[in-house]
Amino acid sequence: MKKVIVLISLGILGFYLIDIFLGIGFGVQHFTAGVKDLYLSNSKDTLKVSNVVTAIVVNFRGFDTLGEVTVLFLASTALGGILYKKRHHVGERSVLFPASRVVMSGAKLLFPSIVLLGAYVFIHGHLSPGGGFQGGTIIATGFLLMLLTYRNYSVSHNRLVYFESLAGILFVSIGLVGYFSKGSFLENVLPVGNMNELFSGGVIGIIYIAVGFKVAAELTGIIYTVLHEKD
């Protein structure tokens, strides 16, 4: 019964969605006076940022990104609260299931490179399809690898907090510097440099670095909390 209702509803919904989006069409642009071209040209000419998505994410719509960072921060905070237990102790399970020595050694060598890759990705966020979130995620997966292979490897909670907080503070502070010096929150205050050089795009790179650190710390925190949940 329930399934029938759901199927019928989803059928109707599917019909409407298909109808809507086929009407919109793939690969066509309906609007003429949208903001797209403004973003492309401003990104190229004003901000000197090669990756327009990054320009949007960090500058044009940087406020969204601040919110997004906050969402992640909240998620890790909420998650910690949800899974909070009074006593923490190191579990015995991990001893029973040590990872293979090959994986352990492999991970050990690979880990710094993964971190470096993450850093590379967020440092080059304005030049390549990367960015703070992607880079942060990569670093966090590096930690995931370590936490999985060395079950009694622990990430310093305080250090995570430092990174997370400082990165967040950096982000908001850059925004506030823009507000106090140029009158608009998150407004660029640094020289924009030349297109396609590492030092270009003004504060965008710095913000994305902050975002990268923050995301990395938060995701690592989340992973750590969840993995140690059973202990």
Binding site: Y16, L17, I20, G23, I24, Q29, H30, F31, T32, A33, G34, V35, K36, L38, Y39, N42, F60, R61, G62, F63, D64, L66, G67, T70, V71, F73, L74, A75, T77, A78, L79, G80, G81, I82, Y84, K85, K86, N158, V161, Y162, E164, S165, L166, A167, G168, I169, F171, V172, S173, G175, L176, G178, Y179, K182, G183, S184, F185, L186, E187, N188
Partner: protein
């Protein structure tokens, strides 16, 4: 101008990021800083309200990009009113929960206050932002804070409540994204004013369908029937003050969003009727269900949903009087329902299931709390001379001016049910004997101050509604003047 709207978001976020650091050095800071920030936000909104009254709407540009390129914040009489209300309530909720039960544990209390602060920030963000996708982000901030706060008590069934909330919230946000993308695909912009201006260009069918998706998405947070299944659970299981925060802050923000859609972005008149229908069904369902509750907070929750239905009805009337009534109802509901949640929490404090019967005889043990609860109950059922009466009169007058006789009759009939279940509780407080052996918990000083200040507001507004009627008038006029909103944003009246 003292300050700027962006500080409503920047300062709390800065604080949220700083708190974990300061918490390592000074544990109490995790409670103090959010309070200071909430107080700051309240004073900021008051000072901006003063500015707005003299100079008109403030449009704050972000990252130096003027609309429609950049995101902007709009602090107008309407949004300013809501901001002031929310930040005030946020501060009161903070004050009430300052000496929280779990404050012995550093980590949970840090999370509690941080999430509370961000809940308020997110709600304020929803109200202030002039960008539809940015609104989505803030809605998610509010939602996730809400999930975290709901599941705060690990021993209760709070995770169940939070999961239901999350389930609905996740579906809602999906459809919100679809709606936003439909609009973007047609108009190429995300700025609300820009959308409003270009809306006539949009294909009618897509217009209708996108609005439908919006209604579903925002309806979940606005607790409209039948999307509100999660709400009573959340109110029941979340810490008491959080119930107040939901009723007084989050739902307000969601209602704001739906109102902004219908009044500003879209140009259907039929949407107003839909408001009335949805509001009426929500109102009836919630109040009738509330009548049959045996748990106090659950009863308050349904009552709160019902009140929100009433607000929707008032907005659906669509005239200036209707909007005035709706805003007045929102104000009253925020203050009064918080008072009820606050005092109600203490009346059933040490009880596991928080049944209504646990309030029996509390009038003797917790006299002040009981009186405050009674004032709240009388006010919410609209008895003069308490504040609730004026809003009820306003909505009825607005409905009468539009010859909605049946609507008036239904509202009044349902109001009788509301009176019944509140009085049942009041009767129990004063005229039943306390059977439970557990000692009632005396409210701490900070909680008492919070409750009393709400009670005083209820009484003062009851005797002197003019204190806010001017503000409400300006806010109503502001909301109705769509052209002015578009002009303010797109031509940057700064």
């Amino acid at each position: 101008m003292v300050g700027s709207p962006v500080l409503f978001v920047a300062i709390p976020l800065l604080a949220a990021f700083i708190i974990p650091l300061t918490g390592m050095m000074w544990k109490n800071s995790v409670r103090v800083i959010p309070g200071l920030v909430l107080a700051f936000m309240f004073f900021l909104s008051i000072s901006l309200m003063g500015y707005v009254n003299e100079h008109g709407t403030i449009v704050e540009v972000l990252a130096g990009w003027k609309p429609p390129i950049g995101i902007n914040l709009v602090f107008s009489p309407f949004t300013g009113f809501l901001t002031t209300l929310m930040t005030f309530l946020g501060f009161i909720v903070w004050l009430y929960s300052y000496k929280f039960k779990r404050n012995v544990d550093f980590e949970p209390s840090m999370k509690y206050f941080m999430l509370l602060m961000l809940l308020v920030t997110g709600s304020v963000g929803i109200v202030l932002t002039g960008d539809i996708f940015n609104m989505f982000v803030f809605i998610e901030i509010v939602s996730i804070s809400g999930y975290g706060l709901t599941s705060f008590y690990t021993r209760r069934d709070s995770a169940e409540a939070a999961f239901k909330f999350l389930f609905m919230g996740a579906i809602a946000s999906t459809f919100l994204l679809i709606a936003i993308m439909i609009i973007y695909s047609q108009l190429g912009t995300l700025n609300i004013a820009d959308i409003a201006e270009k809306m006539p260009m949009m294909d009618h069918k897509l217009k209708v369908l996108s609005l439908v998706f919006f209604i579903l998405a925002i309806g979940v947070e606005a607790e409209i029937f039948p999307l509100n299944g999660w709400a009573p659970d959340v109110y029941t299981e979340a810490p008491g003050p959080i119930g107040a925060a939901f009723a007084g802050i989050v739902v307000k923000a969601a209602i704001y969003a739906s109102v902004r859609l219908v009044y500003t972005m879209y140009d259907f008149s039929g949407a107003f009727d839909l408001f009335i229908i949805i509001g009426l069904i929500t109102f009836i369902m919630a109040e009738t269900t509330a009548l049959r509750q045996d748990r106090l907070k659950r009863m308050l929750a349904y009552s709160s949903i019902g009140q929100m239905g009433l607000v929707m009805i008032a907005f659906g009337i669509g005239t200036k009087e209707g909007v005035y009534a709706a805003l007045f109802l929102m104000f009253n509901h925020a203050i009064i329902k918080s008072l009820l949640f606050f005092s109600g929490s203490y009346l059933v404090f040490n009880k596991k299931n928080k049944y209504i019967k646990h309030v029996n005889g509390m009038g003797k043990y917790l006299p002040i709390t009981s009186v405050l609860f009674t004032i709240g109950a009388f006010a919410i059922i609209g008895l003069p001379p308490f504040a609730g009466f004026w809003s009820k009169l306003a909505i009825l007058t607005a409905a009468a001016d539009n010859k909605m006789v049946v609507l008036i009759a239904v509202i009044l009939i349902i109001s009788i049910l509301e009176a019944v279940y509140y009085l049942r509780v009041v009767n129990r407080i004063y005229f039943y004997d306390k059977k439970e052996k557990t000692e009632p918990k005396k409210p701490s000083l900070n909680a008492l101050v919070a409750m009393i200040s709400l009670g005083v507001i209820v009484l003062v507004i009851g005797f002197y509604p003019d204190l806010i009627s001017g503000i409400l008038d300006r806010a109503a006029a502001d909301l109705l003047d769509k052209g002015n909103y578009i002009k303010d944003v797109l031509t940057l009246n700064k």
